[in-house]
């Protein structure tokens, strides 16, 4: 397989303020295509805030101000001609707690294609099945597609949310601590899924679980108090960190 080392995101000198508080300080980093990039750090360090910059979910929060540039395929996502709805279609997000809509499994997965204009029933059927298979959920739900998604277990719900996202065919998948609310077995399933998905998607995952970052990611960024302290290949960062603070964090001295 061809190893792809192109940039997907290029972040330059990004600052983010929430009202008067600076939550992110001059972050610069490159996120590679078809790799898994993990963002780690203690809670409140800005890693989730940074993740939400990448598909402009912070736009929904009042009092957030951003400067700096974020290029997605060489285009500034804060540029005047960028349509935020279109951006989010390309850069989808999975949240900390599974958030299936209160409708059937099928309707959850078909939600994205439908809002983007897909009306053809057999096409929708195909998309739903394909997405559920990609999220390794098809075998478990194929016999209850038309029952409420709220009846699924937490782990199933989270994979449903992933399937729902894949149905939109995004280029980038952002994940905000996607396994923090799940049991170990479901966590394992989602980690396996991530390794499969990376062949087609660029994935950025926020996690407070360092083992998880070490297990699944190619690159890791360590955040602390709004600064990005260190960023590099996962293996290097976890075995030979350059910064003392990274060393302290990964050896469990705080956090």
């Amino acid at each position: 397989m061809e190893v792809n080392v192109e940039n997907k995101f290029v972040v330059q000198n990004l600052n983010l303020f929430y009202k008067d508080v600076q939550a992110l300080r001059s972050i610069s980093m490159e996120i590679m295509k078809q790799q898994i990039t993990a963002l780690i750090g203690p809670s409140g360090c800005g890693k989730t805030t940074f993740l939400r910059v990448l598909n402009r979910m912070n736009d929904l929060i009042e009092g957030v101000r951003i400067d700096g540039t974020v290029l997605l395929d060489d285009q500034d996502i804060f540029g005047p001609d960028v349509d935020v709805v279109n951006l989010r279609k390309r850069v989808g997000m999975v949240f900390q707690r599974p958030n299936p809509f209160p409708m059937s499994v099928y309707d959850n997965v078909a939600y994205g294609p439908r809002i983007h204009g897909q009306k053809n029933k057999s096409q929708l059927d195909q998309i739903v099945e394909k997405s559920l298979r990609s999220a390794a959920l098809w075998d478990e739900v194929s016999n209850r597609l038309f029952k409420s998604a709220l009846g699924l277990s937490g782990g199933q719900q989270q994979r449903l949310c992933i399937a729902r996202l894949l149905a939109v065919e995004p280029e980038v998948v952002l994940m905000d601590e996607p396994t923090s609310a799940l049991d170990p077995l479901s966590t394992l399933k989602i980690e396996e899924l991530l390794r499969d998905l990376k062949n087609h998607y660029t994935i950025v995952i926020v996690t407070h679980n360092m083992q998880q970052a070490a297990r699944v990611s190619d690159s890791t960024a360590f955040f602390l108090n709004g600064d990005m302290v260190e960023f590099g290949p996962t293996e290097t960062l976890f075995t030979r960190p350059k910064d003392q603070r990274t060393e302290d964090y990964i050896t469990g001295r705080f956090g």
Partner: protein, 282 residues
């Protein structure tokens, strides 16, 4: 994609238009009512006796009946609210009380008026009285008071109660010294809300407090008939014999709205703002 953006824009425009229409409607109502009323309102009109074309006795009766009705309904309503917020465990009684409150809240006011008519006029034989009107009006206030009390008490964090109980307080001491003081503003706001509604109520009072006023003014006797301002506005509309019916109606309408505005702005709003500040600082 384009059609999505178009429908989003159209919907946004419609929603903004609805919002503006609703606020515009209110502004129009207030401007019209007060504008018409200010041509008529004078000290003589507001406080003067009926013989001089004033509505003083009606204004007096309005407040007198309001105060009496609160005397009936506040103890029971607040008591029931305290029961639901502090004592009630899931049980049949609790469900029944909750259902009763909701039912009572939707009973049309004319039905409450007829109930008052049966009890006070026919069973007790008192005729149309301020007392009977106030009691019937209390039924309108009651369910709202139960609800606002329960809501106000529920905003008090559970930890405060545990803190007090852990010091060996009885439940009543906890309620009196911890829960009620920290929810008192919510209660006041609730009572203002109830008062504003009760002041404008007419259907309940026509057949309980009647449509005539005492010859004395002010008359504190609760066993005489007492027409309120809202009932007066209703009454002059149907009586071509009343002199200047139009002016009296316009003046009464404006006065009613002013009283309600006063309740909302002078009592309700400061309490609400203060409460928000209190919560914000925590």
């Amino acid at each position: 994609m384009n059609s999505n953006r178009l429908s989003n824009t159209v919907a946004t425009v419609i929603l903004w238009a609805s919002g503006f229409f609703i606020v515009g409607l209110l502004v129009f109502f207030l401007a019209y009512i007060l504008g018409q009323g200010f041509k008529v309102l004078s000290l003589d009109f507001v406080f003067g006796p009926a013989s001089q074309g004033g509505v003083g006795p009606q204004l007096f009766n309005t407040f007198y009946i309001l105060v009496l009705s609160l005397l009936y309904s506040v103890p029971i309503g607040v008591g029931a609210g305290i029961y639901l917020a502090e004592y009630a465990k899931p049980s049949r009684l609790t469900n029944l009380v909750r259902l009763s409150t909701e039912c009572l809240a939707t009973v049309p006011s004319i039905v409450l008026g007829l109930f008052g008519l049966i009890i006070f006029v026919n069973v007790l034989g008192l005729g149309f009285t301020i007392l009977g009107g106030a009691a019937a009006l209390a039924l309108l206030n009651l369910p709202v008071l139960v609800r606002v009390t329960e809501e106000a008490l529920r905003t008090v964090p559970h930890a405060h109660r545990e803190g007090s109980l852990a010091l060996g307080s009885t439940q009543w001491q906890t309620i009196r010294r911890v829960v009620l003081p920290s929810s008192i503003l919510g209660l006041i706001t609730g009572i203002t809300l109830v008062s504003g509604r009760a002041i404008g109520e007419a259907a309940i009072l026509v057949f309980t407090a009647g449509t005539s006023v005492s010859r004395h003014y002010p008359d504190f006797n609760p066993l005489v008939a007492g027409e309120t301002l809202a009932v007066h506005l209703w009454y002059v509309r149907g009586e071509p014999l009343v002199a200047n019916a139009d002016a009296v109606a316009a003046g009464s309408a404006a006065l009613l709205v002013l009283v309600v505005l006063f309740f909302n702005l002078a009592i309700g709003l400061p309490a609400r703002i203060y409460q928000r500040r209190l919560r914000g600082s925590n």
